[in-house]
Amino acid sequence: MPKNIRFVQGNEACVEGALYAGLDFYAGYPITPSTEIAEHLSERLPEIGGKFIQMEDEIASMCAIIGASLTGKKVMTATSGPGFSLKQEAIGYACMAEIPCVIANVQRGGPSTGNPTHVSQGDVNQARWGTHGDHSIIALTASNHQDVFKMTVHAFNMAETYRTPVILLFDEVVGHMREKLIIPEKGELEIVDRLRTSVAKDVDYHPYLPREDGRLPMSDFGGEHRYNVTGLFHDMWGFPSNNPKIVGGLLRHLIDKIENNVQAITRYKEHCLEGAEYILVSYGSSARSAIHLAQNRRNKGEKIGVLELQSIWPFPTELVKEKCSGAKAVLVVEMNMGQVLTQVKAAVKNPDRVFLANRIDGKLITPSDIKQLLRVIQGRGV
C-alpha cells in the first residue's frame, strides 16, 4: 500500500496540510474540538526542528504567533469559539500590522462556552467582524479531509501573499471524524514562501512600502533591518501617523488588497450543479449532507445541485450570483441562524427565492432535514 494514504481525523489533516505548507511555529491553548491539532503538532513540530509552545491562554497564543511570524516563521494557532473570541484583538493587530498568520477555528456551539463537544457553524460572522474597525479578512473552510489539507495549504499561501491573518473555519464534525487522506507529494501543491526584501543590510528598508505588484517584502524582525511595528495607523517606515492621507490610504490598502483579489482567493466546488433547478449552497460538514441529498435525488431524476463554498470571506458574491442565476430556488444549508444566507440573499437577483435549511441543536444537519424543507419549497408538502 502506498505510504501516503492515511486514515485520520480532520484535525490531523489540518496538521498535515500545515506542515506541508511549511509551518514551523505553533502556539496555542487546547480547546475542544480543536485540541487534536495542538496534540499532533506538539509531536510533529519538534521532529522537524519547529517550535511548539503551549501558552497560558488564547490571547498569548495569538500574540506569540504574531511575534514569531515577524521573525520569519510560518505560523499557526488553533482554537474554538471561546478562544476565537479572545484572539480577536490580536487578529486586528495582525490585520493592521500586516503579519501573515493562520488561525484555525474548529467551530462548536456558542455563544460563550456553549456546546463544547457538538457541531455548529456559528462563527462565520465572527470570522468576518470579530475584531473591531473596518478591515477585510480571508476565511476558508472544507467539508472533507482532502480539502481540509488543501485549504490549510491555501490558507498559508494566502497569508503570505497578502500579508494577512487567514481564518480556517472548520467544525466539530469534520475535525473529529476520520476518513481517508492522501498526502500529496512534495511539489504537487503550490507553496507560497515568505517574500523577503532584497534591501541590503544597513540600507534603509521600508516595511510598508509596497512593490509595484502591491506586495510588501518582509525583513525578519531582529535581523538585518531595524523597523517599527505598531497597531496604530502608520507610514511606510512603520511609525505611527494620523496624517489623513496616510490613514485613509492604509485603510483602503488593507481592504483593497483582499477585496480586489476575490477571484484569486475564492475556492469552491460544484456537485450535480449542471441544469440544477434547486441549488443548495453549503460549506463545511453541512455540505456533506447537501451533497448526499443531491446525489441521491439526481439518481431519481430530480435536478438538485450543490454549490460548495470553500472560501467564505471575502464572500464570492459574483460567483454565487452567476451559479444561482438559473435556479427556481436556492437553499442555504448551514448550522447557524443564517449567517451565509444573508450573503447569498444579497448576491442573487431574486432574494425572495433564497431559503434557510439550518440546524442549531448541536446535531449535524441530515439529508432528510434538507429534503423536508426542499419539499415544502417545491410545494410538495413534507
Binding site: M1, I5, R6, F7, P33, T117, H118, E172, V173, H176, M177, R178, E179, K180, R288, S289, I291, H292, Q295, L364, T366, P367
Partner: protein, 181 residues
Amino acid sequence: MNRIRLVFSGSGGQGVITAAIILAEAAVIYEGLNATQAQSYGAAARGGATRSDIIISDKEINFPEVTQPNILVCLTQEAYNTYSGIIRPGGTLLTDKRFVQTTRKVDAKQIELPMYETVVEKIGKPVVFNICVLGALIGITEILQPQSVMASVADRVPKDFLTMNNRAFDLGLVLGAQFRR
C-alpha cells in the same frame, strides 16, 4: 460493493471506539476502500455509553452518520436497549453473552457469542476483548479480509502486545465463523 453501515456501541473503556477505528482504517489502508468513522463525543472515556458509526464503501461517502446499520454491535445492556431498534431489516446484530440479555425481537440475524468469556478463559486479559469482537465480526460477515484487519491492529497496538491481540482476533474469528452468512 454495497455500502456497509455499522454501529459499534458499548461503554467507555471497552475499546469500542478503538475497534471502530481499526476496522475503518483496515478498509482504507489495506483494502483501498473508502470509510468514515464518527463517534459520539463526550465524557464517556470511562463507564458512559459510547457509540461509533462506520461506513465502508468503494464509492464516495458524504453523510457520515448511520441511521439504520446493516451491522450493529452492542456490548452492554444499555447499548442494546438503546440501539437494537435501529437495525436495518435483515441486518446482523452481534452481542456478547456476558453483558447483554437479548429481549427484543428485531428483524435481524441476532448472534450472541461468549466473546468476553472466551478472552478471559483463553488469554486472561480482558483488554483484548474488543479485538476478539472484531475477529468475530469478520468471521460472521467477511466484510474485510482478516489479514487486513490484523495489519491495522499491528499498526495501532504496542509490539509486545501484538501476539495477545492476534490470539484474541483468531478466537473471535473462530467464534464468528460458525455463523457465517
